[in-house]
């Protein structure tokens, strides 16, 4: 009996989002592009998953597909499941989705100006999610909005409610977006390059803030970035995307120390380091693939230093190494 209670105490935190074999296709004049091609991952409460990859690798399209905001009519999610607390979002009606977005799933995008309306004061915009979630009005509503601004470390929040977005700095605006994201404490926060437009010291502040908010509200976080330093700092696990697929996923420490996929290895080796002046960087030759004319087999084959014949014919299946470390590479498939 005692053993049971102890194992209960150590039980894993519940899984918030479980994505299974998600497929989103873009129908264009040049044919169908498999922007998201069988992506699977899960994120637990209070956990952060980093999603890294180059432009066009499908990381933003994956995030948009989760909340069913992939640009229509071109984008169509054609398969898979998106289970939020066990409930499949892909089967919801648009009405139901609207209640889920902003209440259970919040997003912070790269450019805060595109998330804020330039003609309304911050207060007007803050009150909307607060009113709809907490059912507050009047003075109580204003106070609640101000306390949210205070919780993202905006000084003089009551006065700031009257300010317009253009009167704030980039860091301040992104804080406002953060405050709106937690107006209704979300189960899942999707942060899509939230600090790319911020200066370095402001970025450090914002990353700390996101971590604090996560500790407070225990939400799961998907952090999209191309900055591997941010992944090392913010995330427990990381998924590396290439040409619409997750080619490697696992704990950050493991992947940064012993990357299994040649692309992950090359990516980590190509980043300059403060302490290594003068050494030649290990460049990845070639270009990221064009998804419209993707050859069969592994998408990285043409740039890979370890390419074999079968890589050009068959796409490698996911191989689990250990500790939840999975990769898609023929090097790790025992013959």
């Amino acid at each position: 009996m005692q053993d049971d209670t102890r194992s209960d105490a150590r039980a894993l935190p519940p899984t918030v989002i479980d994505v299974r074999e998600l497929r989103t296709h873009l129908v264009t004049r040049w044919g169908t592009i498999k922007a998201v091609d069988g992506v699977s991952f899960a994120v637990q409460e209070s956990e952060t998953l980093g999603l890294v990859g180059e432009s066009g690798s499908g990381k933003s399209m994956t995030c948009l597909s989760l909340v069913r905001l992939a640009p229509r009519p071109a984008a169509r999610t054609v398969g898979g499941q998106v289970l939020l607390d066990g409930d499949d979002l892909l089967t919801k009606s648009e009405r139901e989705m609207q209640r889920i977005r902003g209440r259970k799933v919040a997003m912070i995008l790269q450019d805060p100006m595109s998330s804020l309306n330039p003609v309304f004061s911050v207060g007007m915009q803050m009150r909307e999610p607060v009113a709809s979630y907490h059912g507050l009005r009047g003075r109580a509503l204003t106070e609640r909005a101000a306390s949210l601004l205070a919780s993202v470390r905006i000084p003089a929040p009551l006065q700031r409610l009257r300010a317009f977005p253009h009167q704030m700095s980039g860091g301040m605006r992104q804080r406002v977006v953060g405050a709106m994201a937690i107006a209704a404490p979300p189960r899942l926060l999707i942060a899509d390059e939230p600090t790319t437009s911020l200066d370095l010291t402001i970025q450090a502040q914002y990353l700390n803030l996101l971590k604090e908010l996560q500790q407070q509200h225990r939400f799961a976080m998907i952090f999209v970035t191309h900055n591997l330093g941010i992944v090392a700092r913010m995330c427990e696990r990381v998924a590396v995307m290439y040409a619409g697929r997750i080619i490697e996923i696992g704990p950050v420490r493991r992947i940064f120390k012993t990357p299994a996929h040649p692309y992950t290895r090359a990516l980590l080796a190509s980043v300059p380091r403060l302490a290594a002046k003068g050494e030649r960087l290990t460049a990845i030759e070639g270009q990221p693939p064009d998804l419209a004319t993707l050859a069969p087999g592994c998408a990285f084959a043409s740039r890979c230093a370890h390419v074999m014949d079968r890589c050009r014919v068959d796409a490698p299946p996911p191989v689990t190494l250990d500790d939840g470390h999975t990769t898609r590479c023929w090097l790790h498939v025992s013959a």
């Binding site: 370095l200 010291t201 002046k277």
Partner: protein, 319 residues
């Protein structure tokens, strides 16, 4: 090794109109009395956050902005005192590569025309000689010969940046200003371009003024680093010394914010509070004192001068 570029007392003030009718005006000290030198064949990294004056500095060096005060000496000559012919020579010796290779190349010109344009304007080379030179330049930056006949849209971002570099090198400049040359490129492509720039420097002996947000890239590329904050240089010295053992509290915070990818690397947590103050009303004394974790009472009244400290120059009352 001689100094190629010597800058002293360099200052740029912009007058901005304020108030509803623009009747009152204020002065922004975008660059405020800075000095640095850059040796032949070396790279000086210029770092700092937006609004610190690094781009204004590079524009003055490029001759695109006239300084309010100060001197720029290039190859021993006072650039600001040059006559028209001298200025023409100067502009040939100094070129630039900008951040966005999608914006800096004319989409309606073929690559051969783009790369040959500086030659047409500045040299008397005939068509055949120009074509030969374009061929050499494309080869130098690792593009195939047939690239000459194509248009910019037929190239990826990394290849476009190679075209921009070929154009910058067309007149064999002595100094190239690199303003965020890799930040618009994909992560896997950046190393290719940084390696190319390093190789070209070794081969041609060209100097770089390297401006970038990516501090690890700056540390990798530069021989010396100058750190700017609100128009002033707060630390200047050997790149490794500045990057690994920064002395100025701002430099320390900046490099602490440059997140290393080594998961085990011990790092100091220095997170600054507050934001960069408006350059319209910089704080008195040391501009950094309101955000400085080590601020002392006299930091608010006396501006620190750049002084030698541990083999570099630091402007801080701590030393």
């Amino acid at each position: 090794m001689g100094a190629l570029l010597e800058v002293a007392g360099l200052t740029k003030h912009f007058v901005v109109r304020q108030g509803a009718l623009g009747w009152s005006s204020a002065v922004v000290r975008a660059v405020d009395d800075i000095a640095f030198t850059l040796d032949t064949g070396a790279t000086l990294g210029l770092v700092g956050e937006s609004g610190c004056g690094k781009t204004t500095t590079s524009k003055m060096v490029l001759g695109l902005e006239r300084p309010t005060a100060g001197t720029i000496r290039f190859d021993g000559q006072d650039v600001l005192a040059l006559d028209a012919e001298g200025r023409r020579q100067y502009r040939r010796a100094i070129q630039a590569v900008f951040q966005d290779p999608y914006a800096s190349l004319d989409p309606r010109m073929r690559v051969a025309t783009i790369v040959a344009e500086p030659l047409v304007i500045n040299t008397a080379l005939d068509g055949a000689a120009r074509r030969r030179r374009v061929g050499e330049l494309l080869d130098l930056v690792g593009l195939p010969e047939r690239a000459a006949g194509l248009y910019p849209h037929e190239f990826s971002g990394g290849q476009r940046q190679r075209i921009a570099i070929a154009r910058a090198l067309a007149l064999s400049p002595k100094l190239v200003v690199l303003d965020e040359p890799v930040s618009a490129l994909d992560v896997s492509i950046r190393a290719q371009i940084l390696n190319l720039l390093t190789d070209l420097q070794k081969q041609l002996g060209v100097s770089y003024l390297f401006i970038a947000h990516d501090l690890a890239a700056v540390a990798h590329m530069s021989h010396a680093i100058a750190v700017m904050y609100l128009g002033k240089i707060v630390e200047w010295g050997d790149a490794q010394a500045v990057a690994l053992t920064p002395k100025h509290p701002y430099t320390q915070a900046l490099f602490a914010a440059a997140l290393p990818i080594d998961v085990d690397e011990p790092r100091e947590e220095i997170t600054l509070s507050g934001e960069v103050p408006s350059p319209l009303a910089p704080p008195p004394g040391c501009h950094f004192h309101p955000r400085c974790p080590f601020a002392m009472p006299h930091c608010a009244t006396q501006a620190p001068a750049l002084r030698a400290e541990s083999g570099r120059l630091v402007a801080c009352h701590l030393y």
